[in-house]
Symmetry: C2
Subunit: 189 residues, 2 copies
């Protein structure tokens, strides 16, 4: 089929939805973020790319830390709300039960199945966004979200985002084992 060119403002499909936590002006704040990815293996680092005008950014710069909280589908309305309103004009500190790990001013969300506590390594200044790179120094979950000691995606029930159509999606069926199902394409002998 013939390829066509479309606008360059394109996305990957789908994008994981998280809540980035920080403290701004002594108040816990949470921002809905889909531009997030692991970016270093050892030590474990994660990156979140936030538009420079966001209220959250000042808190990360000030505290040199942030949290990445992975919400379950049951929190989808609250997550969307966190993306609709700015902490500048809205107190989002009462939306969730907050707990803290080792880092001060780095609030995490008790209702989220998985919470990553991150020490800011390096903010990368880009034209319209700042990529905050954080080292994961604490990971918090609950026994009920584990299977054989590992976080189980079927138990945490995360959701994803597609843009530019702006829709949320659940996780679908298992489609096979990674680093495994392609083995039959390996040339033998």
């Amino acid at each position: 089929m013939e390829k066509i060119k479309i606008e360059t403002n394109a996305y990957v499909y789908p994008m994981p939805m998280v809540l980035v936590g920080t403290t701004v002006g002594k108040r816990a704040n949470f921002m809905a973020v889909a531009w997030v990815s692991r970016i270093n293996s050892k030590p474990p680092m994660i990156g979140v790319a936030l538009g420079k005008t966001h209220y959250t950014n000042a808190g990360i710069h000030e505290n040199k830390s942030f949290s990445v909280n992975i919400p379950g589908m049951d929190l989808i309305e609250k997550v969307d709300y966190c993306g609709l309103v700015s902490g500048k004009n809205n107190d989002k500190s009462q939306l969730f039960d907050i707990f803290y790990g080792e880092l001060p001013n780095t609030p995490m969300i008790r209702q989220c199945p998985l919470c990553l506590e991150c020490r800011l390594v390096n903010p990368v200044d880009l034209p319209s966004n700042t990529l905050f790179i954080g080292e994961i120094i604490g990971t918090y979950t609950e026994e009920r979200f584990l299977t054989d000691g590992k976080v189980d995606i079927r138990k945490i029930i995360p959701f994803t985002l597609s843009m530019p159509d702006n829709n949320y999606w659940g996780v679908g069926n298992n489609a096979g084992k990674a680093w495994s199902i392609g083995k039959n394409l390996k040339k033998t002998g």
Copy 2:
């Protein structure tokens, strides 16, 4: 419920699967990557975080470009294969039909529903990985993957990865409109 601490090598759920294309030693090569995210809004930029020992990295450094190809579920075995074997010892250039856009030595995959052609902006050196930041200068798809002029996730049928359990997952059901379903939590008046 009580939070417990687990190992810090934690992930986001789920991660989008892409194939990163480049030319290494005059041969097109493709690498399976899940550590990928948009990282800048204007101009559109994307980041891929590759372990430093990967064969692909030399090609990106040399050509100052790479492609991000979003495969449909029909390519899952080939994608997994691309993650199983290195281009150093295996010719992956014949796995797909290749096309080129504006950048030389930046192969894209005709069988992928969505292909992003990226000019290297900046490689960010991290301890074990290099984060390659690219500006998207060309986006290629087909009419059949669009709805109302926008890429339709239900038509491209992408898949995702969870770690450390190493499973692939399809995209699930629509879970609502983003920047919308949280509106009822806004305080009125």
